[in-house]
C-alpha cells in the first residue's frame, strides 16, 4: 500500500533533515585531557608489562627456585650458627673449668 501524501512529504523532509549539517565540536582543552589519558595509559602499561613478565612460566619457575634456594641457604646457615654456638659454649665452659682448676692449683697452700 502506498503511504498517504502527507506521510510521503514527512518522510522526504526527515530524510533531508541532515542537509546543511555543520560539524559538531568537542569541548575546549581536549588536547590536555588526551595527554592526561596518555599518561594514565602509560602508567597502566608499565605495570601491565611488569605483571605479564612475572606471570611468564619460565620467570615464575625461576623465581620459585630462587626462593627455595634462598630458604635452604638460610636454614643451613641457621643450623651452622646453632652448631657453632653449642661448640663455643662447650669450649667456654671447659676453659672456665680449666682456669678455675689452675687457680685452685696455684692457690694450693704448700705445706
Amino acid at each position: 500500500m502506498k503511504p498517504g501524501k502527507n506521510i510521503e512529504k514527512r518522510i522526504g523532509q526527515t530524510l533531508n533533515s541532515l542537509d546543511g549539517i555543520r560539524r559538531a565540536e568537542p569541548k575546549p582543552w581536549l588536547y590536555t585531557r588526551i595527554m592526561k589519558r596518555l599518561d594514565k595509559e602509560e602508567d597502566r602499561s608499565i605495570w601491565g608489562a611488569i605483571s605479564s613478565f612475572l606471570a611468564r612460566p619460565a620467570v615464575a619457575i625461576v623465581g620459585l627456585c630462587l626462593i627455595l634456594v634462598l630458604n635452604g641457604f638460610l636454614l643451613f646457615n641457621e643450623q651452622q650458627d646453632s652448631d657453632n654456638l653449642a661448640i663455643e659454649q662447650v669450649v667456654d665452659s671447659e676453659s672456665l673449668m680449666a682456669s678455675s682448676s689452675s687457680f685452685e692449683y696455684e692457690n694450693l697452700v704448700q705445706p
Partner: protein, 190 residues
C-alpha cells in the same frame, strides 16, 4: 606543514606535532564519533581513545592510505567497540536486576539532538537519528559518513575497504530501510 612531515615528527615522539594533529583533526573525529554513538559524552571519550591510539601506534601507519582515512577507520572501529561494550553492560545490568541486587537497568538515552543541525530541522533530524540506529551496522556506517561527515562514496569505500559500487548498494538499502521504518513510524503516530 603537510601530513607526512607531521607524521614523521610524531613517529620521533615530537609532542608539538601531536598537538597539531589533535588540533587539525579533533572536529572530524568528534563529529564522526557523535554521528555514530549519538551521545556527546561518549563521543568525547571515543575521540580521546582515537588520539591515544594514534600516538601509540603511529609507527604502524605505513601511508598506504591517506592519514584522514586511517583516522576515520580508527574512529569507526572505536565507536563500534564502544557500542558493543555498552550493550554488554546493559545486558549484564538487566541480568543483575533480575536477581534483585539493586542495580538499575540502563535505559536508552533520550532522543539525540545533533548540535550542527539547522534549527528548523532539529525535530526531523531527531526522528531520523532514531531510525538510523535501527539500520544494520554497515548501512549505518555508510549513511552516517555520507550524511553527517559529508564524505563521497569514493572516500567511504576507502574507509570501509570496499568498492564504490558496494557503498552505493549500502546507501541504496539504507535509504529504503529508512523510508520503510519512517513510514511505519509516522503511521503509528497518526
Amino acid at each position: 606543514m603537510n601530513d607526512w612531515s607531521l607524521i614523521e615528527k610524531l613517529k620521533q615522539g615530537d609532542e608539538a606535532a601531536f598537538r597539531t594533529i589533535v588540533d587539525t583533526w579533533q572536529n572530524m573525529v568528534y563529529n564522526t564519533a557523535l554521528g555514530m554513538v549519538h551521545s556527546e559524552e561518549d563521543a568525547e571519550d571515543i575521540t580521546q581513545e582515537v588520539f591515544v591510539q594514534v600516538y601509540q601506534s603511529v609507527s604502524s601507519f605505513k601511508g598506504d592510505s591517506k592519514f584522514s582515512t586511517w583516522l576515520y577507520r580508527i574512529t569507526v572501529t572505536k565507536a563500534l567497540d564502544h557500542e558493543r561494550r555498552k550493550k554488554r553492560k546493559k545486558r549484564f545490568a538487566f541480568v543483575r536486576s533480575l536477581f534483585g541486587d539493586g542495580s538499575e537497568v540502563v535505559v536508552n538515552p533520550p532522543d539525540f539532538n545533533h548540535p550542527g543541525v539547522l534549527l528548523d530541522r532539529k525535530e526531523d533530524a531527531k526522528t531520523l537519528f532514531k531510525m538510523i540506529n535501527q539500520l544494520p551496522e554497515n548501512q549505518r556506517i555508510a549513511f552516517t559518513l555520507h550524511k553527517v561527515e559529508g564524505l563521497s562514496y569514493q572516500e567511504i569505500s576507502e574507509i570501509m575497504q570496499t568498492t564504490v559500487s558496494a557503498v552505493e548498494s549500502l546507501m541504496h538499502r539504507a535509504k529504503n530501510n529508512l523510508r520503510k521504518n519512517l513510514e511505519t513510524y509516522f503511521q503509528q503516530e497518526q
